[in-house]
Symmetry: C2
Subunit: 528 residues, 2 copies
């Protein structure tokens, strides 16, 4: 018997016990080309037993490249599932976000077709029937904590797109995770109709509850129930460094200033913070900092959130997933269960990332881009404008709809040959995921540029002055002044650019290993 | 006495009659450098008497360039006001949208600093105090139909940012328009608190009413009341042509297909349609077309909307403004007042363009860009990436939040020397206002590309095949295949581009008067 309760105690709808089987027994339901939906979100709450059994089956039978599936999952899932599937060439289409070395390689080599969507659009667009021919999906694989007498699914560490999957999938396979405590009661599931019958989401605070703790499920669609004792392989903690500490410092100073100016309340507004070392430093700063009675309304909760609760400044947190590290995150959480459980609300992706509550609550949105440009466009997805990293995630959901929209990045990153070979401030982003119309502030370790109320030309001067790395300030200034002079003289200078050299820094990086262009001359022969 | 009632009958709060004066008497309140808010939206419901008196004053006293103001207005206003101000060099900052030859010239020559924002952000950001040092404005100039006994303002042909202006401006000047019927009762004003105290907007249909027909106003802030008999100088009707008729045809076919597939109800979903000849052709098609019991939820109602009502297919329309032509639009509206009045709801910009109702209702968003690229990024604002036309408007509010997001454009436009010298489908947009993550369909007279569920590489093939002008299909295909081969070989090909030539079509247009590049060779010497 498991220390966390038996499978029998977790499956309270007893008629379903007849469907309990081994993961391997589920392989018969699968065939190449199927459209699959999984539970899971930025790796938490995803199915493990059945995806691993399928990977084993493909590997054992040399079916690589012959058994390919289309994967529609709330966001990324553990590397032991999707990334192993990619390594075994088991993925054709993948929507809308992923992590892993093999899956990224497959996408960028053209073997995997990835659709990169706002997470807040993905759930509803799937529900609208936009991604498959008839709008249906073959099989849903869902991890749960428990099944109620009424066949309500109590989920685990994320909500993702489970509510949609249960409607859209012809067959449902359930993994009941008895390898960890039951998360029953942490979720707030609000079922929606499609337009024109959609009702308001009456969330008025991060801890508002507007639904039920279970997702209703049609028991006749459940074809198999598999016990799992495998835990989430969560994202490892990103260490803070001097750069991220400096960025966090600028943001804390900015918050204090905004309170003084009457533009933020003393307890700020609900915080959304992305992932990575800067986000950790910001949350770490807030855990220690002067602001009290704070709340979080976001899509992913990570290890630093536990410090934030422990420090006493954080009252409650709403998220789509609880994405703690395998160690020390989850063990720490489980040991102090009482301290955290009631303060966390996990919501479906279609609610956590919906514009409606984000804008009503007035979230403070903070995310890290690949690069920003001098007019405050931001690239969140494609290195060099062509190579996919993970995807857009919810950055656009929060940056478009927040009260304050902040992008934070180191001013430079190392290239192979130059410790500051890559400037994160460029003349023009090589890919644009967030436009100049969406951002309020850009922050690097150099400083914070408050762009509110500035026209593009004033924005460029401010971003270069406050945010660019000292090595790149003269380079960017030269470009801007040259573009300004040229376009104003022609009466076309609302937002100056020169298209024969706007990407010279990017091209120079590819060719010479650094963005430090020696001068802005180009000789572009159109070769007509 | 006016045929539409006297000033005395319109100003029902009698104590305010002591503040009635001439427009010229208001000049004393103005001084250079002030921050002004006006009523008005895409030219409708804007103040005329006082702005014209100020322009006359500047002209008569040779104050050009010495009397400059910062203008914050819901959107564009009549050319006799803002564009004349621009001609007289009376504008320093202008937020967030404008129309007019002189104002565009001033912006693109660097004399006017324009901030281009999502209209749905502008109203709230102004209210948050983001655009001026202390968040306050000096003077608000507001056109009204009437003032109630309680000092509620019944507005005219638009709502714009009046609710915000009445809170934020130190002094208020009212223009009572007795030169047209009173629009009292057409508006639905919902006053909002700032986060974290903002309440839901309980709009569940285009004709939901959630507020009051008046904007509450503090009478002590009103410093002057001026009578006006001047009517809006609305946008002239854009003629339909074969291209726009063909585009409308593709869209009508697409709607029929979506109904058949169960993805749209028989009466579609609330429609948002931009301005211009394509939008007119689409609305014209719907006026005649097979779909009945339709509704409109948009930001601007134009002349074609009267045909749409008259044809019997349109039940109701919600908008921020009623922007009819001076003739024949408004006279036709006034003559058939009873037919239209109850079917129209005018809302504040902060509601008409808010993500919350647009997404809940599931609007079908349709707008015309400057150019789109093969991955479905769209440029709505800057010709050649640097020259401002009008601004973003509400295109992003609707395209991000709609149920279906459609961009329609001719496949090509004439340059000075080539009737198809400009391709509206390019390898990479020279400015990006809407990202690939936001659009579902692209339509030209050539065809409709349904991009839902396609990865970037598949999107490029589809857009070139369905939408590009025949002259440009081989040119774009060559570029795409070349970029595909190069980036896939390097394992960086999620979204292929080549930065040494992505803008060759734009550069060729500037240099040779056509985007028809003869080949894609470039010799880019970085001149290091």
């Amino acid at each position: 018997m498991s220390e966390f309760g038996t499978l029998e105690s977790r499956v309270r709808r007893k008629s379903l016990l007849s469907k309990v089987c081994k993961a391997e027994d589920c392989i018969k339901y699968f065939s190449p080309g199927q459209d699959l939906m999984w539970s899971g979100f930025t790796p938490a709450g995803y199915p493990k037993m059945v995806p691993i059994a399928l990977a084993n089956h493909v590997e054992a039978n040399n079916l690589q490249g012959q058994w390919k599936f289309n994967l529609f999952i709330g966001a990324s899932v553990g590397a032991e599932t999707e990334d192993r599937w990619a390594a075994l060439d088991m993925i054709d289409r993948r929507w809308p976000y992923q992590t892993g070395k093999n899956i990224a390689a497959g996408i960028n080599a053209g073997r995997i077709r990835m659709g990169d969507k706002h997470l807040g659009h993905f759930a509803q667009d799937a529900g609208y029937g936009f991604y498959t021919g008839n709008g249906r999906y073959d099989i849903g694989i869902i991890e749960v904590s428990a099944i109620t007498e009424d066949c309500g699914l109590a989920l685990t560490t994320s909500c993702g797109i489970v509510a949609e999957a249960l409607h859209l999938c012809d067959k449902i396979i359930i993994e009941v995770n008895t390898g960890q405590p039951s998360f029953e009661g942490m979720h707030d599931i609000h079922m929606q109709q499609k337009p024109p019958h959609r009702a308001p989401f009456l969330i008025t605070a991060a801890d508002s509850r507007i639904g039920t703790p279970y997702v209703p499920c049609d028991p006749d669609r459940i074809v198999a129930i598999v016990e799992s004792k495998l835990r989430d392989k969560g994202r490892a903690f990103a260490e803070q460094d001097d750069t991220s500490e400096a960025i966090a410092g600028h943001i804390m100073d900015f918050f204090s200033h905004e309170i003084k100016m009457g533009r933020l309340p003393e307890n700020l507004l609900p915080l959304q913070s992305g992932v990575g070392s800067i986000a950790n430093a910001v949350i770490g700063g807030l855990a220690k900092g002067p602001f009290r009675n704070l709340s979080v309304y976001t899509e992913v909760l990570q290890d630093t959130m536990l410090d934030f609760f422990d420090g006493g400044n954080l009252l409650c947190a709403s998220s789509c997933s609880l994405s703690l590290s395998e160690t020390p995150g989850f063990p720490r959480f489980f040991e102090n269960w009482e301290r955290y459980f009631d303060k966390i609300t996990l919501r479906p992706l279609s609610i956590s990332n919906a514009p409606e509550p984000i804008r009503r609550l007035g979230c403070i949105a903070m995310n890290t881009p690949v690069e920003i440009d001098m007019y405050a466009h931001a690239n969140s997805t494609l290195v060099g404008g062509t190579r996919m990293i993970n995807g857009l995630g919810g950055s656009g959901d929060f940056l478009r709809n927040g009260y304050l929209k902040i992008m934070h990045t180191p001013s430079s990153r190392p290239s192979k040959t130059d410790p500051n070979g890559i400037s994160c401030v460029v003349p023009h982003c090589s890919h644009i995921d967030h436009t100049e119309h969406d951002l309020d502030c850009v922050v690097t370790e150099q400083g914070l540029a408050d762009l509110r109320g500035l026209c593009p030309r004033d924005r460029a001067l401010k971003i270069i002055e406050k945010c660019a790395h000292p090595d790149y300030k003269p380079i960017l200034t030269d470009y801007y002044q040259m573009a300004l002079k040229d376009t104003l003289a022609k009466g076309i200078g609302h937002e100056p650019q020169l298209w024969d050299r706007a990407f010279k820094m990017h091209l120079n990086l590819a060719q010479n290993g650094t963005m430090k262009v020696k001068n802005w001359d180009v000789k572009l022969d159109l070769c007509e």
